[in-house]
């Protein structure tokens, strides 16, 4: 179309802009396109293995398992070709696995931390070990996935876990003044039992509202204004479309886990105080011996840095590193700068420990 005349008519330009706006607001972008296969399923959970592109002799020996949050789709890690953490790690020679928790139904309302960390994760890891042929493995948890990974590592630290990577991990809930979520879910104002009695599971729309309400102007207005300002830039529009597809694809959180998240963590800070009990076992983070990389987003309004920092002085790991990245909760892994800062650092850290 190199010979096509440039459109200069203001009316046509505006119509074209509106068409683009309508398209990105009402359609789903092509996301999660890195080739993969299902190697294990249990209830709604799926374990995917990404098809390696690097010859076996050049691959890292230790496989990597990605664990994302429960209330969002994990394809944020594989958002779109050319801008995918999954694609980047596969191209860098990792045998890569992703644990997708799926969409819980009413029958899953009683699933809680105990089930996720002591039933689902060990089984998925057992399958990963069988498929990869490696007993040792690395674990990367992001957001709520980092809570699950931390609890798993503390309870099953002797399960050949070699490397643990925690991204924007909400682990310390002691400073309630700095946590907006903690303020909203204070037991004086928020009745978690009444909410779960009504819905069973915590609806995805309510979680989405809460996340967006932390920064209402940016999320409800600013995001669309930014899109309109850049609507002539196809790269920016594609990025916005993919991110909007992910942001609007919300899933519920099981009632059992939500109750623990609010009561045990946000209200009582039991994990860092060493008082969290999972199926009769006390979760002691000092039992974590795996090499640890904690990644913090300096401008994170969902998990402020001080929620992730204290784990560094509590774990028993000899090899540990705290890595700070400029950016927000999602931006550090899915933003335009992720491929220049966060991903290369994770790759370098992990490659040195995957031999």
């Amino acid at each position: 179309m190199a010979g096509a005349p440039a459109v200069t008519d203001p009316f046509t330009l505006t119509v074209n802009k509106l068409k683009t706006l309508s398209k990105v607001m009402t359609t789903r972008a092509a996301i999660a396109q890195t080739p993969k296969e299902i190697v294990w399923t249990l209830n709604k959970a799926r374990l995917y293995r990404y098809i390696p592109v690097v010859p076996q002799e050049k691959r890292h020996r230790i496989p990597l398992l990605l664990v994302f949050a429960l209330m969002n789709r994990p394809y944020i890690l594989d958002l779109r070709p050319g801008h995918s953490f999954v694609e980047y790690m596969v191209n860098n020679g990792y045998d890569l696995y992703l644990l997708d928790w799926g969409v819980p139904g009413p029958e899953d309302k009683n699933l809680k931390l105990d089930d996720y960390t002591l039933e689902y994760m060990p089984r998925a890891i057992r399958k990963l070990q069988a498929v990869s042929g490696s007993a040792e493995f690395s674990l990367l948890g992001w957001c709520i996935g980092a809570i699950l990974s931390t609890v798993y590592a503390a309870l099953r630290g002797d399960d050949h876990l070699r490397n643990l990577i925690l991204l924007t991990a909400p682990l310390d809930f002691s400073n309630k003044e700095s946590l907006t979520f903690a303020r909203w879910t204070d037991d004086r104002y928020f009745d978690v039992e009444k909410l779960l009695a009504a819905f069973g599971n915590m609806p995805g729309e309510m979680i989405d509202y809460a996340a967006k309400a932390l920064k209402p102007v940016e999320n409800y207005i600013g995001s669309y204004v930014k899109l309109w300002d850049n609507i002539d830039d196809p790269l920016m529009v594609d990025a916005w479309h993919a991110m909007n597809t992910w942001v609007t694809d919300n899933i519920p959180m099981t009632g059992g886990f939500f109750r623990q998240l609010i009561v045990d963590l946000y209200q009582k800070d039991r994990l860092m105080r060493g008082e969290l009990v999972v199926r009769g076992e006390r979760v002691d983070v000092s039992r974590i011996r795996a090499n640890l990389l904690t990644v913090i987003a300096e401008a994170d309004h969902i998990t402020p840095p001080r929620q992730s920092e204290p784990i560094m002085s509590k774990v028993g790991s000899a090899d540990k590193e705290l890595f700070r990245v400029r950016g927000g909760h999602i931006g550090i892994m899915a933003g335009s700068g992720a491929c220049k800062h966060t991903w290369p650092h994770i790759n370098a850290w992990l490659a040195a420990r995957s031999k």
Binding site: G133, W184, D186, Y189, F190, E218, G222
Partner: protein, 143 residues
């Protein structure tokens, strides 16, 4: 004339000053809103609103659930509770199958170690079963 309308290599856009004002206003508004939602008053108000909604909707919800249960019973149809119970049992069956799968993996590993001449790479029973299933039609075809 053209030189006057070009600044930093970009054509002059009369909307730029307006955009600057808009962005400044939105920044100030955003900061104000962040402070507002982070206040004790907001937490109290949103908690009260949610509580009112849940309290007001509870009788209707219960009435609908009871009515639906009766209707389904009359029609000899399974209720949501029946489906939930069934789904839970299915998950339990899946877990037992998963345990068996793990044991099979372990047995295959031991067998492969016991027969080193075959140089079997330890792999999952799922993979082996899939390969066997795929290989079967080929044999038939070759005959």
């Amino acid at each position: 004339m053209g030189d006057e309308l070009v600044r930093d290599g970009k054509p002059f856009d009369p909307m730029d000053p307006w955009r600057g004002m808009r962005d400044a206003y939105m920044d100030a508004w955003a900061k104000g809103m962040v402070e507002a939602v982070n206040s004790e008053a907001y937490a109290q108000a949103s908690g009260a609103m949610l509580d009112s909604y849940l309290t007001a909707s509870a009788p209707f919800r219960e009435a609908v659930e009871k009515t639906m249960l009766k209707v389904l019973e009359q029609m000899s149809m399974p209720s949501r509770a029946d489906f939930v119970s069934l789904a839970e049992r299915m998950t339990n069956v899946e877990m037992r199958l998963d345990d068996m799968d793990a044991k099979l993996d372990h047995i295959l590993l031991l067998v492969s170690k016991a027969a080193p001449s075959e140089r079997m790479k330890p792999q999952s029973s799922t993979q082996q079963r899939t390969r066997t299933a795929k290989a079967a039609p080929k044999k038939k075809g070759s005959k």
